[in-house]
Amino acid sequence: MAARNCLKFLLGHEARTLDAVDPTATVLDYLRLEERRTGTKEGCAEGDCGACTVVVARPSPEGGLRYQAVNACIQPLGTLDGAQLITVEDLAAADGTLHPVQQAMVDCHGSQCGFCTPGFVMSLFAMTKEGFPPETDDQAIDEILAGNLCRCTGYAPIARAAHGLAAMEITDGFDARREETQAALAAMDDGADVSLTEDETRWFHAPASADGLAELMLQYPDATIVAGATDVGLWLTKHLMRPDPLIWLGRARDLATIEETTTDITIGAGVTYSDALAHLSWTWPDFGAVVRRIGSTQIRNAGTIGGNVANGSPIGDTPPMLIALGARLHLRQGRIRRVIPIEDFFIDYGKQDRAPGEFVEAVTIPRPAPGQIFKAYKLSKRFDQDISAVMGAFSLFVDEGRIVTARVAFGGMAGTPKRSPSAEAALTGHTLEKSAFETAMRALAIDFKPLTDMRASAAYRLKAAQNMLMRVFIEVTDEDAATRLWDKRGIDDAGL
């Protein structure tokens, strides 16, 4: 099938077909500069503040529509293909009646300077469409709003608005036009490969299948793959790079699958964090707890584990956990596929075991084995939406009170996410005794010489990493001890 050379999406309820698309243009610039929809704001152009939050609706695999908040500032325009883009201007009724979300924000005095407000409105709007969690407590609200910074209100009135909304039954204009929208989106869903350009010099390709991707990658071995664009987007907006061509894998549905067997879970490279979360939390609660803190709802709605691994960053959150769990990485070049232990992928700082034209197809994570204990700790300056200073992951196989195998991996401690052979050796063969953990703590200093930067000093990184081992020890030996700040135990007498 010939590639389609235009971009099709709905802007609110209006169809848009763009023949000329700058491959590195962002959704935000398109809205503000082309459409002059200036309700959506730019606060940072790096996905961190949420002022640019828009909602993207797509047909859901279960039928119906799925509404997700994303950061317009780092989303390449081409990623809108086949979607409905909803901005703050679309919410109020034609007669000016405010949407319930907007009304709640007004009633609760949720805006002061107002610059963050459209972003909050859109994050909350997405929640009203998707349904708030059954018991929307403060923690749930924090999770929904972690990607929206407000410098004025201190969040209290916005949280009050969110609580109010969670308790409401809301139907709106989008429900009224749901069928029409679904029909319009279905009409766009032509299964074609898409190739977009503004002037035939630079290109944005969106193959409709993994095979298509494989072929394109052979054709352009040095192309830049875009999954969620939560890293790549920043290259465009902050580093002003113009990688060419960009190949977006968001249209390749066969990469967006999760396969569960009795022994493991295989997550396709196109699966977003949001989609993987439930599976991961269920299998490995600590893995899920960390993923829940990766970026924000907006970032998790776009970002992928595949991208987190492929970028080779030493401070990505999932690699240490994947390494500790002994995950396997599926790589593909044309028709040639290979599977490697994920730790072997990270060769050195900035260097991964990926050949030109090769791409990540999936990652396979083993399920828990009898006697396996898995702990993961993310340490950052701010609890939510922050890059880790240290990320520690620990997998212990314990048999009759003795540690048979230990896999200890860290991020933020070296140029790559990395295991600590010395600490593992110190633990292996020992019972769950304090002295073994203390030896392992000292052993970390042999394997790691971390850096000092704005996130943490070398000394603190080492100390904190060591103390994480102590936390493992306490958690596996003292069930009564509250070891986590978010653990409600121990704080229940604060009068909360």
């Binding site: 924000m105 005095h109 004025c152 939510d384």
Partner: protein
């Protein structure tokens, strides 16, 4: 002639709320662009302190779309944009760059994208000079950006030499990035006959007007500055907008085209000043009861490369080194150090919070030294009412409500019982430790530069009864416009909906002061009231004559005017007044009474009155990593008779969380080359939604009218709540103290990042051994 109270003392929503939530409240970047508008970006120095040996801008000039490149050489000679006329701030650096990120050229292009790309293409050769990045590096040289100030009351050295207990120490507190969500922006539009109109996101339109006039070498009447709303200011738009407005104006002048300057977030954070970080060395003497006898402090501040407002800011640190406590003898000295970093500037509290750092540290020191509860020490040392009521700057405290606030709050928050429970729980908890603290705030209200304490307003009543209000204050989210609108509506007995507030505009109300120092509604509310009253008096006089009744029988209420047994709608009444040729427009003026200040003598009454508050915070600290969480915060705050309780509570909640950010996760970090590495939200962490206290209760102190004759007896609220956040720092301190059985003062510095918390825990454990 009683004014109707209908419009004031009620929680009217922010005047732009409905537009905020629909995205229809335009900020400058949202306005339609005129054809031909140019966009500007800065080229920034890549050295902290260096001579520019050569600058090759050919690639910048040749970049497609570039229209103009300006360097220091293109700046009119001798132009200086120092807000205090220190003549130390050229618009662009010329021979010498004074900080990493110092703007050295500006490029204007057809698109913002082209300007940003071109700006990165400069080739500059530098010859490095000695750079002093932080306070300790700058201290030996001792170069200050302004003359230091000394406050002296009593004989502190003598008091210290005879005190039964003396503690000497040092505390440090970090700076803070404003992180207004809307970055700096200016748009300049050339007009006829040398006129220029500048739209600027600024708290101080008049200063922008002055700077632009200076840069263009024209009279003030050729420059009009307009400001409808800012997406946050917090002090960061008091002086920092000058450079963007001047460059935009110069580009507009040179090209004859409109010019817009919106730096990206990184450039904004690199180029504009921040809250000053301080290192404070102190000695405090006290008796066996924990009463301070004498205190000395040296307040060294990183001011950056130029004076900016560092003088009055470091002064205010000294003014608030007492917080709410009486010091029988005190000697405080400021040390405003010149450093090779961005020039620091105003930020909510204006140096005051940094002064409070010392007061609260000292209270903790005394408590641990004597084994007393820190709250007890705080209560004992509070200012008195008739005695023990003179500040280190010789102003008498006449309105002290701190004792009442603190005791009421301690009761309400159940401080004592919770503290006992926490200690018990801590004893059994190996990892997570909790802490609690209750701290006061007393904050002086007025600009310490007395001349700024004046304001003007303009009120027009139209013949349909609608009212247009304009005043010198700027709206940055704080709700100033709705408050001033309420004041005017109240004068006419109208609903707030009858009053429309228009953009702050130097051609409507001239010679205004910055909207700063929490003074917005105090000053502009009074000026607007004065304007409205003139019109109402004319209307009343007209009514009294036309209906032949006594003036005091004319009533303006509920949108009507009652006169001589007749009730007319306000609109009908006004139409009649118009027909009778009554002037329906007036300008009002206000200046704050009673205040005076002699800086050289360190003596006077710099503040018209004080605003007070108290907060009680409980936190949990993870002793393995130093992470923490704020569990519960109760606040009781004094806003006098609130003009608008909802807006005031919003300021308290927001100020508290912002203060908490300053004291906890917000860390500015420079590398060895003097490069600020925390210049975006990815690396600079302001509080997120999840950082707000789990349980957050704010109440206003009841039945407490301002003793001074402020607008409807209200009190300023912008800055004071910021310092309520000390309760969090000291609650963390309390939690940390548990690792050494509460025997030692943890001396937790700020920002208390997890790293600093863990270091403090480790240091405390080492000291306890």
């Amino acid at each position: 002639m009683p004014a109707s109270d209908l419009a004031v003392h009620r929680s009217t929503i922010h005047e732009s709320a409905a537009r905020h939530v629909t995205g229809t409240a335009p900020y400058i970047d949202d306005l339609p662009e005129l054809p031909g508008t140019l966009h500007i970006a800065f080229g920034l120095a890549q050295r902290a302190h260096a001579r520019i040996v050569a600058m090759d801008l050919s690639a910048v000039r040749d970049f497609p779309g570039v229209v103009l490149v300006l360097t220091g050489a293109d700046m009119p000679p001798d132009v200086d944009i120092s807000p205090v006329h220190a003549h130390d701030e050229p618009i662009l650096a010329t021979d010498v760059v004074e900080f990493h990120g110092h703007p050295i050229f500006a490029v204007a292009a057809a698109t913002r994208d082209a300007a940003r790309r071109a700006a990165r293409l400069a080739k500059v050769t530098y010859e490095d000079m000695d750079a002093h990045i932080d306070i300790e590096a700058a201290r030996p040289k001792g170069r200050t950006v302004v003359t230091p100030m000394t406050l002296n009351r009593g004989d502190a050295p003598a008091a210290l030499s005879t005190a039964p207990h003396v503690i000497a120490g040092r505390c440090a507190v970090g700076g803070q990035e404003h992180f207004y969500l809307e970055s700096q922006i200016a748009m300049a539009i050339p007009g006829e006959g040398g006129e220029i109109k500048v739209l600027s996101s600024t708290q101080h339109p008049t200063e922008i007007q002055h700077m632009v006039a200076e840069a263009l070498g024209v009279a003030l009447h050729l420059v009009t500055v307009e400001m409808r709303r800012m997406g946050g200011g917090f002090g960061g738009k008091e002086t920092s907008g000058n450079v963007f407005a001047c460059i935009a104006a110069l580009v507009a002048r040179k090209t004859g085209r409109p010019a817009k300057f919106r730096p990206d977030r990184d450039d904004d954070m690199i180029v504009t000043g921040k809250r000053h970080d301080f290192v404070i060395d102190y000695r405090v003497g006290f008796d066996d009861d924990g009463m301070v006898l004498g205190i000395e402090g040296t307040f060294a501040a990183r001011c950056g490369w130029s004076a900016d407002l560092s003088g009055p800011i470091t002064d205010r640190a000294l003014f608030h080194a007492d917080n709410a406590y009486y010091y029988p003898a005190a000697r405080f000295v400021s040390l405003p150090l010149k450093t090779n970093t961005v020039s620091n500037c105003a930020f909510r509290g204006f140096g005051g919070p940094q002064g409070v750092v010392l007061a609260e540290r000292v209270m903790d020191e005394i408590a641990y030294a004597l084994g007393l509860d820190p709250l007890e020490v705080r209560l004992r040392n509070l200012y008195g009412t008739d005695t023990r009521n003179v500040t280190p700057y010789h102003q008498t405290v006449e309105d002290n409500v701190a004792p009442r606030l603190m005791t009421e709050l301690a009761d309400k928050a159940d401080y004592a019982a919770r503290k006992a429970r926490i200690r018990e729980a801590n004893a059994k908890s190996p990892v997570i430790r909790r802490g609690i603290a209750l701290t006061p705030v007393k904050f002086g209200i007025s600009f310490t530069a007395t001349q700024y304490n004046q304001a003007g307003a303009l009120v027009h009543v139209y013949t349909d009864g609608s009212i247009m209000l304009n005043h010198g204050g700027t709206e940055m989210g704080q709700g100033l416009h709705v408050k001033v609108g309420q004041v005017v509506a109240a004068e006419f007995g109208l609903d707030i909906g009858a009053v429309r507030i228009t953009a702050t505009d130097t051609s409507k109300v001239p010679n205004t002061s910055a909207t700063a120092a929490s003074s917005g509604s105090d000053l502009n509310g009074m000026a607007a009231q004065a304007a409205a009253r003139q019109i109402r008096e004319r209307l009343t006089a007209f009514a009294a004559e036309r209906w032949q009744v006594a003036a005091d029988s004319v009533k303006f209420e509920n949108g009507t005017v009652t006169v001589g047994g007749e009730t007319l709608s306000f609109a009908d009444f006004v139409k009649r007044a118009y027909n009778a040729r009554v002037q329906l427009s007036a300008s009002g003026f206000y200046k704050t009474p009673k205040i005076h200040w002699d800086r050289a003598a360190g003596r006077g009454r710099p503040f018209y009155y004080y605003a007070y508050g108290a907060a009680c915070a409980e936190v949990a600290v993870d002793t393995l990593t130093g992470e923490y969480r704020v569990l519960r915060v109760d606040i009781l705050h004094d806003v006098g008779k609130s003009l608008n309780p909802a807006i005031d509570i919003g300021q308290i909640e927001g100020g508290f969380v912002q203060g908490m950010g300053w004291l906890t996760t917000e860390e500015l970090w420079w590398d060895g080359q003097g490069r600020l590495r925390t210049h975006a939200p990815s690396t600079y962490k302001i509080p997120a939604c999840g950082d707000r206290p789990l349980h957050f209760e704010v109440a206003l102190l009841e039945n407490q009218a301002n003793v001074e004759e402020t607008i409807h007896r209200s009190k300023a609220v912008g800055e004071p709540p910021f310092m309520l956040a000390f309760s969090v720092l000291h609650a963390m301190s309390d939690a940390i103290a548990s690792v050494a059985d509460y025997r030692l003062c943890p001396r937790l510095d700020a920002p208390a990042t997890p790293e600093r918390v863990l270091n403090t825990i480790e240091a405390l454990r080492a000291r306890a051994k």
